[in-house]
């Protein structure tokens, strides 16, 4: 009972912390992007016939004619009600733009993070349990090598090999995009189509990403391997596999789980590269486009989303942690 109350209080504390972080991000994102040199109005109209009246009108529409503090208070007031403003270049509410793109990113990187976390956890646990062995060395060797590979490069190679086709290898997978576009059908056919498009990007992300989980899992399990409680478990007559599964892994899971959550937090932002290489219609590319104008509402909104995802996942990690580790429970 008191434990439950303690957990509630702990949760409230963490929620408060997250709220503060979010506020800080809210404020800083406004100013961070104001230091980008360049006038969005000029940038947007540069190269097209424009009259001075048009420029002034745009400036008015974007609210850029107001003093900075007015812009700031307006931005804050709106952001707090969930209104992120209207994109300069797409003329659509930033929230809508992001909502339109976010599912694609979430799908791609979410699947990738889940896959590589699972692969990493599994291989990491195996590796640590038989550390020093041939399997462990091959395992970590391959993981480290893949980790060192730039993801965009791997993606390009995969495209050359499996999309364009090299020599006898036929181009099995699409080169980019999320769906064929000509198959508008919904349901299973569409799902298979999207899955087909996802194979290479997910493969890229998994190959480059699983090493981290593997290494963290391996080292935290190694830390636990000397634990006296494992000797106790063995002394009880438990099978080796049971000792690992029931005693060692739950203890070693803690740091790894935190990391997985942080990776999930990166989901939004972390896909910029792979989205670029695989023409994935996600938020990563949007950010890049927004930045070059700078399309302030969109940049700020995306930034908030990126940081918000991190904050949210950190928060979730904080909240899950006590469930995994009773020592943190208060």
């Amino acid at each position: 009972m008191t434990a439950a109350r303690g957990y509630l209080r702990y949760t409230a504390g963490k929620l408060g912390g997250a709220a503060v972080s979010l506020l800080a991000v809210l404020v800083t994102s406004f100013f961070l992007f104001r230091i980008i040199p360049g006038d969005p109005v000029k940038a947007l109209t540069h190269g097209t016939p424009t009259t001075a009246g048009q420029l002034a009108s745009l400036r008015r529409q974007f609210g850029l004619d107001e003093p900075l503090w007015r812009q700031f208070t307006e931005y804050c007031a709106k952001a707090l009600t969930g209104d992120l403003g209207i994109s300069y270049q797409f003329r659509a509410p930033v929230g809508e733009l992001i909502a339109e793109k976010a599912p694609a990113t979430l799908l791609l990187t979410g699947v990738a993070v889940l896959v590589y976390s699972a692969v990493g956890l599994w291989l990491g646990a195996r590796s640590a349990w038989r550390h020093g062995g041939l399997g462990d060395r091959i395992n970590t060797g391959v993981a480290l090598t893949l980790w060192s590979v730039p993801s965009f490069w791997l993606g390009l190679l995969l495209i050359i090999t499996f999309s364009v086709g090299v020599g006898p290898v036929p181009g099995l997978f699409p080169t980019g995009g999320m769906e064929s576009g000509d198959a508008t059908g919904t349901g299973l056919g569409y799902a298979i189509d999207v899955a087909h498009h996802m194979v290479l990007p997910v493969l890229t992300l998994v190959a480059v990403g699983y090493a981290q989980t593997l290494l963290v899992m391996r080292s935290s399990l190694l830390d636990e391997m000397g634990g006296d409680y494992l000797t106790t478990a063995r002394a009880k007559g438990l099978r080796d596999a049971v000792v690992r599964r029931r005693h060692a892994v739950p203890n070693a899971l803690l740091p790894t789980v935190t990391m997985i959550f942080i990776n999930l937090g990166h989901v939004a932002a972390g896909s910029i590269l792979v989205e670029t290489v695989f023409s994935w219609p996600g938020v990563g590319g949007l950010f890049y486009q927004a930045l070059s104008v700078p399309d302030l509402p969109l940049v700020q909104g995306l930034f908030m989303v990126f940081a918000g995802a991190m904050i949210l996942m950190n928060l979730l990690a904080d909240l899950v942690y006590p469930l995994l580790d009773p020592r943190v429970r208060r």
């Binding site: 503060v20 972080s21 800080a24 991000v25 800083t28 961070l32 992007f33 230091i35 980008i36 040199p37 060797g141 480290l144 090598t145 980790w147 060192s148 590979v149 730039p150 965009f152 490069w153 791997l154 390009l156 190679l157 495209i159 050359i160 364009v164 090299v166 937090g265 990166h266 939004a268 932002a269 972390g270 910029i272 590269l273 670029t276 950010f287 890049y288 930045l291 070059s292 930034f303 990126f306 940081a307 991190m310 904050i311 950190n314």
Partner: protein, 295 residues
């Protein structure tokens, strides 16, 4: 023991470290690769005839496949890719080293100070750290690289300024761990002040961590540099591996099947990153403060 016992012991400790390091085969491999690449990078002006940076009057035709004359083929201007790769090593290594050093320096300073002093000051510092931590590094680096002018220093600063928080957190945790050791209490009881505690006790104890972080950070920095260059945020006038990849892609190497344009820079990045990672991990193990080795 006479003379300067401390110095003699230091040397001996270094020798012991080296012996311990030698036991890590992967670390040795990494070190070997690094030495080779660093030597090649330093010798690039001697190894490569002419000015590879020139885009006209180049020795080869555009996009020649590997041949005896051009072992790695040529790029879109007809420049030998091997020469470019050697020149690129200089930038990639420089950026990696400096950016990692910058990042770790910031991180270590913030971590030690926050860990040592505690109180509202530390809370503030850690809040700032958290802020940077929740900022996606790449996004922030892209913003910085967009804001500042396009040159190598920009990239170094962008990487350094965005990647320090992890180090800061690690160093802070380590500092707090060290500060809870009885010998800190003893040093305080001996009359040691903040400077003494931080300089004589905390710093030497976090240095191994910092060293390992730097080494690991270099590989991360090299990858980030390549990424930024690939995204077109590097200095286009400078030859770097990431820039080569970007040029290759811009030149349509992917779809026109010019794999030799694309493969070497990527492999080189991966190799150097791997080498630094292996070294870093070996150093980490040799100096692991938890094991109390490397005394």
């Amino acid at each position: 023991m006479s003379g300067s016992p401390a110095r003699a012991r230091r040397l001996e400790a270094a020798a012991r470290l080296w012996r311990a390091y030698r036991a890590h085969r992967a670390g040795l491999f990494g070190l070997g690769v690094l030495v080779l690449i660093a030597a090649a990078a330093l010798a690039a002006p001697l190894l490569v005839e002419g000015d590879v940076r020139k885009v006209t009057g180049t020795p080869g035709g555009p996009l020649e496949p590997p041949s005896a004359r051009f072992p790695l083929g040529t790029d879109q201007f007809g420049r030998p890719l091997l020469g470019l790769l050697l020149w690129g090593a200089r930038i990639s290594l420089t950026v990696g080293l400096l950016a990692a050093a910058l990042s770790v320096a910031i991180g270590a300073a913030v971590g030690i100070v926050a860990g040592h002093y505690g109180g509202w000051f530390a809370t503030l510092l850690m809040r700032i750290t958290d802020w940077f931590l929740v900022m996606p590094t790449l996004v922030l680096a892209i913003v910085l690289a967009t804001v500042m002018s396009r040159d190598v220093w920009t990239v170094i600063v962008a990487i350094g300024v965005t990647s320090w928080p992890t180090t800061a957190r690690l160093v802070r945790a380590q500092t707090i761990a060290v500060e809870s050791r009885p010998y800190i209490e003893r040093a305080k009881a001996l009359g040691g002040g903040h400077r003494h505690i931080m300089g004589r006790h905390v710093l030497p104890n976090v240095l191994p961590l910092v060293l390992a972080q730097t080494t690991l950070g270099i590989s991360a920095a090299i990858l980030t540099e390549a990424t930024l260059a690939f995204l077109g945020l590097g200095d286009p006038m400078v030859i770097s591996w990431g820039g080569m990849l970007q040029e290759a892609r811009e030149a349509g190497a992917v779809s026109s099947g010019h794999w030799w344009y694309l493969a070497p820079p990527g492999l080189a990045i991966a190799l150097v990153a791997l080498a630094f990672t292996l070294c870093g991990r070996a150093i980490e193990k040799v100096l692991d403060p938890r094991l109390g080795v490397g005394r």
